[in-house]
Every structure is written in structure tokens, then in C-alpha cells.
Symmetry: C2
Subunit: 217 residues, 2 copies
DNA sequence: CGCGAATGTGACCGGGTGGTCATAGTTAGC
DNA sequence: GCTAACTATGACCACCCGGTCACATTCGCG
């Protein structure tokens, strides 16, 4: 966690450091990210970074946490469940669209998400992803549980399993249109607009449909 | 691609280099992997590596390719479709079990799979994953198409979408029991035996069930 | 044997790394 | 205006990196 000095800082300077760190870690990952580059891009001496954070990992963990919090905050308005009379599947498609739109508009957050999702070192990955997973669970599980309660999802739905698959699929969906080499059979990279949206919905439907009640078979 | 020299090599020496490279890249990733470490572990001068491969990337790409080929070869006996009268879902569970069992028994291949799956650099990732994806598609799409043809999967199954989700889910399933920080709602890491198997089947069922015909709803 | 081709080697190169620290500058309170 | 606490700085440290190359060794073959 950042030192007190970090919180005393001029917000503009703090922001410069945070954004520089997001850009560097987001494009180079944790081990590949350079503190020299971050300091230079932020217009700050390298020594200053160590006045704010214990070490490289401390900075990376902070960047990852702040990023996941700001993504969560941006999606929060879309996490209140389906509107009156709105089918659950339609609502979920909207949520996915919002997610992808956010990533399209926020390359820094997208990069950091990719870097934490793809972090190889087990210790770093565990430390950094645990809070992210918690946010995902906290945001999505109530949606599924409500849908089961209202009968929109089958009562015998394996909520934990469905949640796990969605937490794997959703960030992947949100990144794949912008990061090459992620998708396989379905072409998501480089797609935009309605075609991107439709492709993402196909994948979500593959996972979600079985649990829906009243789907024509 | 490796130079001719590599193919002329004493197989035992070749094997030492390959295994050392798998271990290093598998644990440290591409950018984090050290040629010095590989050369030392293989009992070979660093200069020799550059007699066999153009550069670091060439070696990594070769390691990734060989690894995916050997995984494919090991799973090939399980890719011939369900036996007579065997339900498709049961067959697919067996395939997943075989996959996980392979990863349990082959930590080197597991590490390389993790390293290629989680590679952050877009160029490296694209180059290294394209052939892997091709093998996955080649191995799994016929299974799905056959199952549609025999009526075991619904005729309106979106085979491409299902394939995409499976190609995302299956390697994740095969790695999660051994690599911490990958699973979220469902506890797969550290599980063994029947409990691990049952958990994996729950996740596969979540994806696969909707497409099955004749499932009680 | 001899000789040319192929292979093996490790010191060396320029450059980058995370992290430290003595020093200088800035701020706040009295 | 003085002082004490806080903050900023960048040269410097030991170490590691991918890649090269002049030279030693081994091999294949006539």
C-alpha cells in the first residue's frame, strides 16, 4: 500500500504518476514494466517513486487495485439488474456491451486489465487478482441469484459454476476486440459496432442459454 | 525455426536444451526467461543457443510449438469421439479428465502452456498462439460437428461460438488445479482426484448442457 | 592421416534493471 | 526569520540481459 506521502501529494502529480504507471505496466506487464520509464513519463525522479511506494510490487498492486475499482465504479450503473419486464438475457447483453464500450474508451484500464489477467508469476497473480475476483463476484452473483429467485434462471442452476465461467469469459470478451491473439474460432479482434456486439452476444448466449427458463428448444 | 545445426545434433543434447528452455520459459515467461539460465541448466555454452536458433524469440516459438504438438499427440487417443452408445457428455468429461491428468503428470508442458496462454506482448502472443489454436480447432471441431450430425447436439448449435468458449475454458480448466489465482467462484486449485474431476465437470456442463438434446429440464 | 567444414565456447559488449542515499529544496508553524 | 519536518532529486550500485565473435575443438571423408 502507498505511504502517507502519496496521499499528501498534489493530486495533479499523483495523477501523472498513476497514469504513467498504468500505461507502462499495462503494456509491459509487471516484470517487464520499468520504473525508469514510469518516472520519466510522469516527469518525476525515480527516487520519488520509492517515497510513495515500498517497491515495484507495491506500485503494481496499487495500480491494479485502483484500476479494478474504477472499472467497477464505471459498470456499477449497469449492475442493478434487468428493468421491469426486461428479459434477463437482454439485460446481460447490455451489461456486456457496456463493458466492451468501457474498454474501448479507456485504453489505460484495458491494458492494466490485460496485464493482471495474463500475469504469469503465481505470487504476483494471486495477490493482484484476488481483489479483482472479489469485485466480480460481488457484482455478478447477486444478478444470478436474483434471476433464479424471480424464475428467469432455472432453479437448479449451478450458480457457482456459471459465475466461474462468466468471470473467465467476460474479461476475455472485453479484451479480445482490442488485443490480437486472444480469440480462436470466433473473430472478435478488430470488430466494431454492431458486428462486435453480435459476436459477443453469441458467446454469452452459449454460456447463459442453458440456464434460462422458457427458451424454445 | 531452428537451424539445420539443431537437427544434426546429438539427440541427448537437443533434449537437454529443449527441456531446460521449457522449464525456464514455462516458469518465467518469454520476456522473463533468461538464455543464461537455459544455457547453464542445459550444460551448454550460451553461444551454442545462437548456433541453433536465430534469437530468443525463435527459441521460444520452437518451445511453444513442440509443446503444443506433444500435448496434441498425447490427447489424440482421446479425440476419436464417443464409443458406441456412450453419451456425448460422458465422453467429453473423459476428455477433460485426460487433459487434466496429462497436465498433472507433465509439469514442463503445463508451464509452457501457462506461459503461452498468459503471454502479454501482442506480437509474441499472436505468433505463438495461432498454431496452438489451430490444433485445438482441428481436434475439437470434428467432435462437435459429429455430435450435431448424430443428433447428440442440437442441430441449431452455434458450433463456432461453442468452440470458442471451449477453447477458452479447457486450457483454463487444465491449468487451474495447479496454478494459483486462476479460479474464482469455484475452488479448483489444489484439488485432486474425484473432487477435482467433479468440479471440472460442473464447469464443462455449464457450457455444454444447453447444446445437448434430450436433457431433462 | 590430413584437411575443410561444422560445432562448441565463454569473455566481452552496450545497455537496462530495481533500489539507495547524500544532498538540496520546499513547506508550515511560531 | 528561524527551525524542523517533509519532499524531490539523480548519480550511483551491483547485477543481469540478449547477442557477438575470435578462437578451440571435433567430425566427416577422401
Amino acid at each position: 500500500m502507498p505511504r502517507q506521502t502519496w496521499h499528501n501529494l498534489d493530486p495533479e502529480r499523483r495523477d501523472r504518476v498513476l497514469r504513467a504507471a498504468m500505461a507502462e505496466f499495462g503494456s509491459q506487464g509487471y516484470s517487464g514494466g520499468s520504473l525508469n520509464v514510469i518516472a520519466r513519463a510522469a516527469g518525476v525522479a525515480k527516487g520519488s517513486l520509492f517515497q510513495y511506494f515500498d517497491d515495484k510490487f507495491d506500485l503494481f498492486a496499487y495500480v491494479a487495485e485502483q484500476t479494478s475499482l474504477s472499472i467497477y465504479a464505471a459498470l456499477l450503473p449497469h449492475l442493478d439488474g434487468p428493468g421491469a419486464g426486461q428479459p434477463f438475457a437482454d439485460y446481460f447483453d447490455e451489461l456486456v456491451d457496456a463493458w466492451i464500450a468501457f474498454m474501448a474508451a479507456h485504453p489505460l484500464e484495458r491494458g492494466v486489465t490485460a496485464a493482471t489477467t495474463m500475469e504469469l508469476d503465481p505470487d504476483v497473480r494471486s495477490a493482484v487478482r484476488a481483489p479483482v475476483h472479489q469485485l466480480y463476484v460481488q457484482g455478478i452473483r447477486p444478478l444470478l441469484e436474483n434471476a433464479v429467485a424471480t424464475g428467469e434462471l432455472r432453479s437448479d442452476t449451478d450458480v457457482d459454476a456459471l459465475l466461474s465461467v462468466l468471470i473467465l469469459l467476460l474479461p476475455h470478451l472485453a479484451l479480445a476486440p482490442f488485443e490480437p491473439g486472444l480469440d480462436s474460432a470466433v473473430q472478435l479482434f478488430g470488430r466494431t459496432g454492431a458486428r462486435r456486439s453480435a459476436t459477443a452476444h453469441r458467446l454469452v448466449a452459449t454460456v447463459l442459454t442453458p440456464a434460462l427458463t422458457g427458451v424454445a428448444r
